[in-house]
């Protein structure tokens, strides 16, 4: 990325091209055609999905009353948490503010949603405010159920060899405190993942690979034992990727065991209790990485928006996996982590879901049907050590869908894939938030 700017000629050509292209941008012209409407649109959640969507909607709609509802003052660039938890980036690398990404002319209600009434088309907040809508988008993200792990609470992160990087920048930085002691002292490291759906299923693997690499760089790998314990019967949801990870685990001397669901920890004695098909099993550890079960926010479940027969313990929104539209309410869509679709709790999925929701929402305002579909695309730059990653992209059918076929091999550990994660990903994410990518 950066190398382009050392050379004047390339930059000059790029600028000349930019000048030329600016004169002939039919795509931009076509998209700039706005739709006149007085529709009331409510978006619950101003995270990656809600923000990206609202920035696109304000370009498409003229006169719409758009309201976002989100109590969070901070915006978190969550793909960066793995880097913070490995000591590669400071905590503030992932932090910005919610409001800096929002366009003018939309209303932000800084409050948490307590209930949605899809019949009368109204959203109530915990602060007692009620907002009526014609169209509703559910993008509140998900809840980390830390309490589900007996004996564990977030204030323990960073102490007694306990890490848990998902909770935010402070948790990720505290995780690195605990992990770096493990890197120095060695011992037994346990790396877990939950049995529920989770955001970025690659993150538990990345953390394992990064801490393994940290141990090697500290010349201390011989003093450490690493066990990756998964509730599932594979290392990754996509079989071909799972096999590749299995080979890499072999190469790195990382042990793994399946059908191990973390239920409890004893922080004083440093013992973790797993549920297995044959009863419970205790494992001692010097470092443990905990990823709690993940569920839809309570108001989603309480408002009757969840699937009735799927993920009943998790409550994801009952929506069509191709259009993201609610299966029972025509004027409601789900986007991002909360959506009840088989894959796609990543920022990369958001990037592909948002234009689909935009298309169907704008079409619905005009009394038409949208045409765009989401095929389950997800991307995961699966870091395998500092300086290398595998750029894994796939869809609902577990097909690999490489963006650069024949150039960037998805199952190979490459420097270029690391460069993308390190340099281009946050920039692409930010451009997505602004509705530009």
């Amino acid at each position: 990325m950066t190398e382009n700017f050392n050379t004047s000629r390339r930059a000059f050509l790029a600028m000349a091209a930019a000048g030329g292209a600016a004169a002939t941008l039919p795509g931009a012209e076509a998209r700039a055609q706005t739709v006149q409407t007085t529709a009331r649109i409510v978006i619950i959640g101003a995270g990656a999905a809600g923000t990206a969507l609202v920035n696109r909607l304000v370009d498409r709609l003229d006169g719409a009353q758009i309201t976002l509802i989100d109590p969070r003052v901070r915006h978190l660039y969550q793909p960066g948490l793995s880097l913070v938890a490995a000591g590669l980036k400071p905590a503030d690398y992932v932090v910005s503010t919610t409001t800096e990404w929002l366009p003018d002319g939309v209303t932000l209600v800084e409050d948490a949603v307590s209930a949605v009434d899809p019949e009368v088309q109204r959203v109530d907040t915990e602060g007692g405010e009620s907002v009526e809508y014609d169209f509703l988008v559910l993008a509140p993200g998900l809840m980390l159920d830390h309490e589900a792990i007996e004996g564990f609470s977030r204030d323990m992160i960073g102490t007694n060899g306990i890490g848990a990087l998902y909770g935010g920048p402070e948790d990720a930085a505290a995780t690195w405190e605990a992990a770096s002691r493990f890197v120095e002292e060695g011992g037994r490291g346990l790396f877990t993942r939950p049995e529920t759906e989770m955001k970025c299923a690659g993150a538990p693997l990345k953390h394992t690979f990064l801490i393994d690499d940290r141990l090697r760089r500290a010349d201390n790998r011989g003093a450490a034992e690493i066990l990756y314990a998964a509730p599932q019967t594979s290392l990754f949801g996509v079989p071909i990727v799972s096999e590749r990870v299995r080979m890499l685990f072999g190469d790195r001397d990382i042990d793994y065991s399946y059908q191990r669901t973390l239920r409890a920890i004893d922080a004083e004695r440093k013992i973790a209790t797993f549920e297995t098909p044959d009863g419970t099993e205790e494992q001692d550890y010097d470092y443990i990485h905990i990823i709690p079960p993940q569920r839809a926010p309570q108001f989603i479940r309480d408002s009757g928006l969840s699937w009735a027969d799927r993920w009943t313990d998790q409550g994801w929104v009952d929506c069509d996996q191709y259009t993201m539209r609610h299966n029972r309410y025509d004027n409601i869509w789900a986007v991002g982590d909360v959506a009840g679709v088989p894959k796609g709790k990543t920022a990369a999925s958001v990037k592909f879901q948002v234009p689909v929701v935009e298309d169907h929402l704008v079409a619905a305002i005009q009394g038409e049907d949208g045409t765009e579909t989401y095929d389950g695309y997800t991307s995961c730059p699966l870091i395998t050590r500092i300086g290398r990653a595998m750029l894994i992209e796939f869809d609902y059918n577990n097909n690999l869908t490489p963006s650069f076929p024949g150039v960037i091999a998805p199952l190979e550990e490459l420097w270029i894939s690391w460069l993308m994660k390190e340099v281009a990903l946050k920039a692409t994410y930010n451009a997505m938030l602004r509705g530009q990518a």
């Binding site: 190398e3 050379t7 592909f352 550990e413 530009q436 990518a437």
Partner: protein, 118 residues
């Protein structure tokens, strides 16, 4: 990537460097390029002595460019893992080399032409 348009690329580069820095760098690069074109047109030929000196700076530019990218991305030469990595690596080096030679030639021609002659 859904669509890699020029608009997207510019948005991404603006995010990497910040809008101000990005366009400043584009401006600096454009000024050097204009300067280069200016001396070429003014002199009607390449000053071979200046060109030779500029070429001698090419390895320096190559090493600087590679070092800069490695440093900025917590990477190491041993991270190069496949053919595409070698291509990226060489591309960075080549761009650094060419950029440096253009810079050196332009500076020589603008400020040291009398000393260096043709």
């Amino acid at each position: 990537m859904e669509e890699l348009t020029l608009e997207t690329m510019i948005a991404v580069f603006e995010e990497i460097f910040g809008t101000g820095l990005f366009w400043s760098m584009v401006a600096v690069a454009a000024i050097i390029t204009v300067g280069y074109l200016y001396v070429l047109i003014r002199d009607h030929n390449l000053g071979m002595r200046r060109f030779l000196i500029a070429q001698l700076f090419m390895p320096v530019g190559a090493v600087l460019a590679v070092w800069f990218v490695m440093f900025m991305t917590s990477s190491n030469l041993s991270d190069i893992g496949g053919p595409v990595d070698v291509i990226v690596f060489l591309g960075i080096a080549v761009m650094g080399a060419i950029g440096m030679s253009i810079l050196v030639y332009t500076v020589e021609s603008l400020f040291f032409r009398d000393k260096l002659g043709d």
